[in-house]
């Protein structure tokens, strides 16, 4: 059986199909994250109003700082990524800003719920959502934001991250280790996903090429038949 080498046009077409599909995915996930960020913003406000609506002094009450933080801080965090998702979907900067904002939203939600361990699951859920891009570099951006948050707060405000004022020096590595554990599998999943997407694009280009060849053969045959009958 002879295997004919693929013409350069097939490889070029596969690249073209892959680029179009990839951009469509990036834009779709950008828009999904824009919706998610708004939902998270609303959830943060709801959590603040439910858990700590007021700060008290005897009979007097004032709006709790957590409510202001949820409204203004949460709004500020989601403003740029939402604008980018609307006006520049699919742009490389858009998804990296979204990745950073998603992790900042995690940090905000953790704070609004009083540092609950359960809210820390949001970090790992967010990494899984970011893997939908099939672009492993956004996971690195997200991880760097988490690492920077832990590193800086570990130096200047350790009790807010670790619950104690003088954590062991390796505490940072323990937290980062779990994120790296999650990242390792998600990055592998992204690489596999991209390979499969490229293979699918190549198959589509080949099918298009074969269909084109068959259409040319069919046209030539019809012409030959027409000449014979004339």
């Amino acid at each position: 059986m002879n295997i004919e080498p693929k013409p350069a046009s097939v490889a070029a077409r596969a690249e073209e199909v892959d680029t179009v599909n990839r951009q469509a995915r990036y834009a779709k996930v950008d828009r999904a994250f824009a919706v998610l960020l708004v939902i998270q913003w609303a959830a943060g406000i709801a959590a603040a109003l439910w858990l700590s609506p007021f700060a008290w002094a005897g009979k007097e009450k004032v709006l709790h700082v957590h409510v202001w933080l949820a409204v203004l801080g949460g709004g500020g965090i989601v403003l740029l990524p939402i604008l980018l998702a609307i006006f520049r979907p699919g742009w490389v900067v858009t998804r990296h800003v979204i990745a950073a904002s998603q992790m900042l939203s995690s940090a905000l939600l953790i704070h609004l719920t009083g540092g609950r361990i359960e809210t820390h699951f949001h970090v790992f859920g967010s990494l899984a959502f970011l893997a939908f891009y099939l672009d492993w570099t956004v996971l690195i951006t997200a991880t760097l934001v988490v690492a920077a948050d832990h590193f800086l707060r570990g130096i200047y405000w350790p009790e807010s991250v670790y619950g104690i004022a003088n954590p062991e020096w390796w505490r940072f590595l323990e937290h980062a280790g779990w994120v790296a554990f999650c990242d390792t599998w998600l990055i592998w999943g992204c690489v596999l996903g991209r390979r499969e997407a490229k293979a699918a694009a190549m198959r589509q280009a080949e099918v298009e090429h074969l269909t084109e060849q068959e259409q040319l053969k069919s046209a030539a045959l019809q012409m030959a038949l027409a000449e014979m009958t004339a």
């Binding site: 858990l51 700590s52 609506p53 007021f54 700060a55 008290w56 002094a57 005897g58 009979k59 007097e60 009450k61 709790h64 700082v65 957590h66 202001w68 933080l69 203004l72 801080g73 709004g75 500020g76 965090i77 403003l79 740029l80 604008l83 980018l84 006006f87 520049r88 904002s101 900042l104 905000l108 704070h111 009083g114 540092g115 405000w157 009790e159 807010s160 619950g163 104690i164 004022a165």
Partner: protein, 199 residues
């Protein structure tokens, strides 16, 4: 949208983004790390207190504002202390209530959480009379008195405002109530039990 307008919008949004994150971290740090007013605590059990101290036993007292969301963490820490303390320690949580409000006013989730702790009596502190006798100003203020009625601890039992978790205040109370030496103290984090204008 025209390119210059888009660039200006993104630049502005980027600046808002950076400023917001910095301002949020700064404000939350200031809020959570600033302790409340420390107690002017008496050296011995206040004789004017309506609580009948049982001589010969340790007594632990926590004063809370029932609507102070930060005090959920203080009550959670109290539960951890009670678990590690000898069973005969008498523990009281005094929940503030202004006289013009009914009993239902003080029945908050902080109250419910305190009621769930074994061997803890939750009492209402009308108009913060007991808080004044103990010299307490901030919700979460905790006192430990030894079997002779001497104050051995005065302070909070959380590391930050509204943050439960291991901290030196909690550890100190557990150490003292189990026979540790010396007096103990720790900053207290929470809402003010009475307003500044109150007498």
């Amino acid at each position: 949208m025209k390119r210059p307008i888009l660039i200006a919008a993104f630049t502005l949004a980027g600046a808002v983004w950076v400023v917001t994150v910095a301002a949020a971290v700064r404000s939350i740090r200031a809020f959570e790390s600033t302790p409340g007013r420390a107690a002017a605590a008496p050296e011995r059990w206040p004789s004017s207190s309506a609580i009948a101290r049982q001589p010969g036993t340790w007594t632990l007292v926590m004063l809370v504002h029932p609507h102070c969301s930060c005090s959920r963490a203080s009550v959670a820490e109290l539960a951890a202390i009670v678990e590690k303390a000898p069973r005969n320690v008498r523990t009281y949580v005094l929940a503030y209530r202004p006289h013009e409000f009914g009993e239902a006013w003080s029945r908050s989730d902080v109250w419910t959480a305190a009621r769930r702790i074994p061997r803890v009596q939750v009492l209402t502190d009308v108009d913060a009379r007991e808080a004044k006798r103990f010299g307490a100003f901030t919700s979460g203020q905790t006192f430990l008195f030894d079997p002779d009625g001497n104050r051995r601890y005065s302070g909070g039992v959380t590391l930050l405002r509204g943050h439960a978790g291991l901290n030196s205040g909690r550890a100190e109370v557990i150490r003292l109530v189990n026979g540790g030496k010396g007096p103990g103290a720790h900053p207290v984090f929470g809402c003010a039990i009475v307003s500044k204008e109150a007498p």
